[in-house]
């Protein structure tokens, strides 16, 4: 159990820069290490290295997408070049406000990129798991689904039933048994 003595607030001095490495939630400024978030300080000891000082956040910042993060998003619009999505969850943490992202046609899958058709991969309303590949342009993050475990995880068929994946690029409607094309995520 952590004691109150280990609780710190931003700007609190944690130690000398020669004693500790700066970890999460800390920063170095003029030979000293300071906390940058409210939380509990923690020292991680590593072999052959000076220990790392980090501060475990008490009040988690609302999630923002970062490069390589796995995000869950909802498709809002498709066109032949890309699918526009709302990013709703980042690394398992729900965002308070949705961020915008796009999955470009060349980022849908890893192989046979020239044969990809957005319309046969995503439809508006689908819930997609994707990875952030760049901060993108002023508005949208660029996402990729070019891995087995990435792609559509929930979808609704034309008839209104939910879809079950039957192969990596086909899903079947539970109501009408009609097969629709999607870039499916392999269940983990």
């Amino acid at each position: 159990m952590t004691s109150v003595a280990d609780a710190v607030v931003p700007g609190q001095r944690l130690g000398h820069i020669q004693e500790y490495n700066a970890g999460e939630g800390t920063y170095a400024h003029q030979d000293f290490l300071y906390a940058s978030v409210v939380g509990i300080k923690k020292v991680t000891i590593a072999d052959n290295e000076i220990p790392t000082m980090s501060v475990q956040r008490e009040n988690t910042q609302s999630a923002i997408p970062d490069i390589n993060a796995i995000v869950t998003c909802k498709v809002v619009r498709v066109n032949p070049r890309f699918a526009a999505v709302n990013i709703m969850v980042v690394d398992g943490k729900p965002c308070t406000d949705d961020f915008q992202g796009i999955i470009r046609v060349q980022d849908v899958r890893a192989t046979e990129k020239d044969k990809v058709k957005i319309y046969n991969s995503f439809r508006p309303g689908d819930i997609v798991r994707a990875q952030v590949i760049s901060l993108g342009d002023a508005r949208s993050y660029y996402l990729s689904t070019a891995a087995n475990e990435l792609g559509v995880i929930f979808g609704t068929s034309v008839a209104g039933g939910s879809l079950i994946p039957i192969s990596w690029q086909e899903m079947q409607c539970t109501k009408t048994k009609v097969i629709e094309l999607r870039k499916c995520a392999k269940p983990m």
């Binding site: 609780a7 700007g11 940058s36 978030v37 956040r57 965002c95 308070t96």
Partner: protein
């Protein structure tokens, strides 16, 4: 004409307040402050609490006796503004709003230039402390509602303090907390009538009683005497101020993020008041520190 609100009469004014002839109003010549409990260097007691706004990522409520403000922090969230360009740094956006009933005179519901100015002051005072490089492409919105204002300077200072606590409460990475403090320069030595300048803010009938008390005083020159520095002046005291200062300070890094000095003052007075304010900020820091640690305790209980 505002079509989106319930309309009232086109013109309405506050009634004229008539004071009885024997009514004694507070003046700086009284040998105490308006709030008789305080010394010139004393601030009002601060009540600070986090987490009152359930929907916000971080929030704080601050009270300095009658001055009451609420602050909510939203973000980091996507920038909603159109026509923005890509930026590797986040944006800190502050907005302060006075409730229409917050001052002696009723304020309009529409955002006025004073609120815009204050909003900008706040952004400038807080931005140096926030690690905006950690949140590319995102915006942090800080909203402040003044529920009651008792002194303009103290209101700005309290807004800075509350906003920085709310930012920390939202889990946003910061270099340090920012404490805000205000002071007014008030001439307490006997005044000559000619140099009596009162900002007649709310009512028109205050001069009768004050001039009465001063008539007996001979017109000694007062310009040479330095004014007294009143920390955290309230609304009544501000009516007599020659100048005022609002300081935003990062107590553990010993850095000043914003100074706003207005009115006439000698440079010695100014440097002295800056020192006083820094000292006061260290006291405020203790309150902020306590409020944030309390928020940790509450989270623990919730678990």
């Amino acid at each position: 004409m505002d079509r989106k609100r319930v309309p009232g009469p086109e013109l309405s004014v506050a009634p004229l307040v008539e004071y009885p002839a024997d009514f004694k109003r507070w003046t700086p010549q009284d040998e105490c402050r308006h709030d008789s409990k305080r010394q010139p260097e004393d601030m009002r007691p601060i009540y600070l609490k986090t987490g009152l706004i359930t929907q916000a990522n971080g929030s704080a409520y601050i009270e300095l006796e009658k001055t009451k403000l609420a602050c909510g922090v939203y973000g980091p969230r996507p920038i909603k503004r159109v026509g923005q360009i890509f930026s590797g740094r986040g944006i800190l956006n502050c907005e302060i709003k006075f409730a229409s009933f917050s001052c002696a005179k009723r304020r309009s519901n529409i955002r006025d230039p004073q609120e815009r100015e204050l909003s900008q002051i706040l952004s400038q005072a807080l931005a140096p402390a926030v690690r905006l490089e950690k949140i590319p492409k995102s915006a942090i919105d800080v909203y402040i509602t003044v529920l009651e204002s008792d002194g303009w300077g103290s209101c700005v200072a309290a807004a800075v303090t509350a906003a920085s606590v709310a930012l920390a409460h939202a889990g946003i990475e910061m270099l340090d907390l920012v404490a805000g403090c205000s002071a007014s320069y008030i001439q307490t030595a006997p005044l000559s009538i000619s140099s009596l300048s009162i900002s007649e803010g709310d009512t028109g009938s205050i001069s009768t009683s004050t001039t009465n008390t001063n008539k007996t005083i001979t017109a000694t020159a007062t310009a040479t005497q330095p004014p007294q520095i009143f920390m955290d002046a309230d609304f009544e005291e501000e009516k007599y101020q020659q100048g005022a200062i609002v300081l935003a300070y990062m107590p553990s890094l010993h850095e000043i993020t914003h100074v706003l000095q207005s009115g006439k003052a000698e440079s010695s007075t100014i440097s002295q008041s800056v020192e006083h304010c820094m000292e006061a900020c260290n006291k405020i820091y203790a309150v902020m520190h306590h409020a944030l640690l309390e928020s940790i305790g509450e989270n623990k209980e919730a678990l």
